[in-house]
Symmetry: C2
Subunit: 425 residues, 2 copies
């Protein structure tokens, strides 16, 4: 017997029939003798509809801006999960499973006061643990909590993953199962490389890099939280037939376990290849090479919430002037240019150049720590294919290259193959 | 300056544009210097959609029945008002009006534990009164409260009227304005009698009769509550142009004030004519005329929740056998017959007869108390038109006649005219 938190996203609860299917998954785990809590998102599309109403409303009022009260936003948007949690509880009851729904304020899931993007501060799991002990399934509305102002708060988009992991930590659960529309985490995007393999296990650190680099299986914050609390997180498919899955203690269901590095026996040098499109590169030429110049560039950008990613500073020839190159999301490029133009005198650059629509391809693996020359292999392989590298950044367990986006597929496939990740046909 | 509670129903908040229009009404009262709280329903159609999901869910599960957990039902269905209260608060804010939304559990609106049809037991108005004093508009989600089990409760259909009146009582409001899709209470249904007049004032007692007899302007429970707490309730149109309405203290806006009898200076003998279609008549012939026979008939019907309305017992010729005639809604007829057949021996009737699709027409007026012969006028007028009366019941301030439904319009118009209610052209 184990204590498990299951999480189902918006696609899995998109209509009554799918909610019924989710109930079958839950019943299966319950019938196998496990203590079960379920976290649900709103029906697919529902949150967008509500958000759209909130954003449209002030325009109707002629304010012209995008202002709205985040506390009202939270109260409105959190209603979506309120509906699905109730419906799933009813579906379970009608199958003979004792179940009740829990809203964020009922548990309570205490958050800070950052409405619209609140952080969970504390979850009181006492009552739910007691009821799980009596065989009751807790159906928890994801994405929501209650702030110190006693009003509903939401965790920001994708927050239901975070809800599930945080709940799993609070309930001292043995595992947090994230049911999603893919059956696990792959070595790379299977739409680009059909030879991509599902990973049996991946470490929290690696998953964090995969998630933040564009592998959209799990929200970054939920992985961080799982790592901090050591919550074993299992990514699996909600489209598998619930009646064909074995939930016994010895069963090995299909999916990917995100866990501590120590729990991974066979460590790979490279675990996966991730990519992120729609990157822009900005180069500031002939910037004075003196202390404080980085702050004069990145300070004003941060103030305007421009998300700067890769930063490469060239070594200057004579020690007086240098080139600074960095990337921002395409969506932030115009704003970034405006900020940099306004600060031209202060920064002291001579020329600003920019390119849109680039791609960042990253190679991730905890094995890099102990293996030299992993990056060199990639540079050679890309050069052989005639792919020009615009910029490189490295960290302990990954390195990234910035490329023209037309090379995305070729680069991903080349790297996937050169690190031996291709599925054996 | 006055303290006013405004209530807007589902049609008035059916989309963003209408919510914006509601905000204009609220702003107008706020700008006139009044302290304002607003109660809103869910968007028209939303509650039905949610209820339908709840009712469909167990069928998907193959239970076949209509079972569902009323606590889950409440949590799901209450989400509709959660959305509109937040949207209206945002609309008001964008017009420069300080506003915040309040959910039932936040105020709190304490109810009993009868989920799905809960009764309000207590509303703590302290915080809202304080904030209204500081110029903040309270936007309250109607129809909902919190039960002793700390879960969301709902008041049953049409409960937002009740929420508004109860809130007005708790806030010691000077008036409760019910904005609806008609501009007041009429002497009868204007679709049947175009000469119907809008009443300036009507007493609580009369309105109670009008409401329970099928004039669908206000929920019966809200009128009862208004009467008990002496809440002056003003029925007015939400479709009037909010910019053309005068909200100054001396203004006389268009609508009907439901108030204490003592506040009505010119009392009419007859205030209005109401009707209720879809009534069934059941007659039990030759029932033993002895103590306990009524209990043997109406006890079993009550146990099966059959709503019995008019009851007429004929005086028996020889004191041994009598006829009992009563009405039930058409929808309950089959059930009533089944119950009565099962209890045939116990009741001891010889023949049971029934007719469906009848109409009950009622004449209402507090002036009846002091005027004799009011009913006789009606009987004569109906007889002159050749309308046969199947049954009659009377009370202190109203009497009702049961008719074949084909005479509905003719009877309503005849009575409307004979009591001098016709509008002067």
């Amino acid at each position: 017997m184990a204590r498990i938190v299951l999480k189902f996203g918006g696609t899995s609860v998109a209509d009554l029939e799918r909610i019924h299917n989710v109930a079958k998954h839950v019943k299966r785990e319950h019938d196998a003798g496990h203590q079960v809590a379920v976290v649900v998102s709103a029906m697919a599309g529902k949150t967008n509809e509500l958000v759209n109403w909130v954003q449209t409303m002030p325009k109707v009022a002629g304010s012209g801006g995008s202002f709205f009260d985040a506390r009202e936003y939270d109260s409105i948007v959190a209603s979506g999960e309120q509906v699905t949690s109730g419906l799933l509880a009813i579906a379970l009851q009608s199958m003979g499973v004792d179940a009740r729904s829990w809203l964020g304020w009922q548990i309570p899931v205490k958050t800070n006061n950052a409405h619209g993007a609140a952080r969970i501060e504390d979850i009181d799991g006492t009552e739910i643990i007691k009821r799980m002990g009596n065989g009751q399934v807790a159906v928890v509305a994801g994405f929501q909590g209650i702030g110190p102002d006693k009003r509903i708060s939401t965790l920001g988009r994708g927050g239901s993953d975070t809800s599930a992991v945080a709940l799993a930590a609070a309930l001292h659960a043995d595992r947090c199962d994230i049911y999603t529309d893919v059956d696990g985490v792959y070595t790379t995007d299977p739409r680009i490389e059909p030879k991509a393999c599902r990973l049996d296990r991946i470490s929290f650190e690696e998953m964090l890099e995969m998630a933040s680099l564009g592998a959209k299986v799990l929200q970054v914050r939920s992985v961080e939280l799982a790592m901090v609390h050591g919550v074993k997180t299992f990514v699996r498919s909600s489209f598998d037939n619930p009646e064909e899955i074995d939930s016994s203690p010895d069963a090995r269901p299909v999916g990917t376990l995100i866990c501590d590095e120590d729990d991974i026996v066979e460590k790979q040098v490279v675990t996966g290849i991730a990519y992120a499109r729609d990157e822009s590169q900005i180069s500031l030429r002939r910037v004075p090479d003196k202390p404080g110049v980085s702050a004069s560039i990145f300070g004003p950008l941060a103030e305007e919430y421009v998300n700067v990613d890769m930063i490469v500073q060239s070594v200057s020839e004579d020690g007086s002037r240098t080139d600074m190159t960095f990337t921002v999301p395409d969506a932030d490029l115009a704003k970034a240019i405006k900020v940099l133009e306004a600060n031209r005198e202060k920064i002291g650059y001579e020329i600003m150049q920019s390119d849109k629509g680039l791609v960042k391809v990253s190679v991730i693996g905890i094995g890099m720590r102990s293996h030299a020359g992993v990056a060199a292999t990639a540079f050679n392989a890309l050069a052989e294919k005639g792919i020009n590298i615009r910029a490189i950044t490295t960290s302990e367990i990954k390195f990234s290259v910035l490329l023209d986006s037309e090379y995305t597929e070729l680069a991903v496939r080349t790297l996937h193959s050169v690190y031996g990740l291709d599925k054996v046909a």
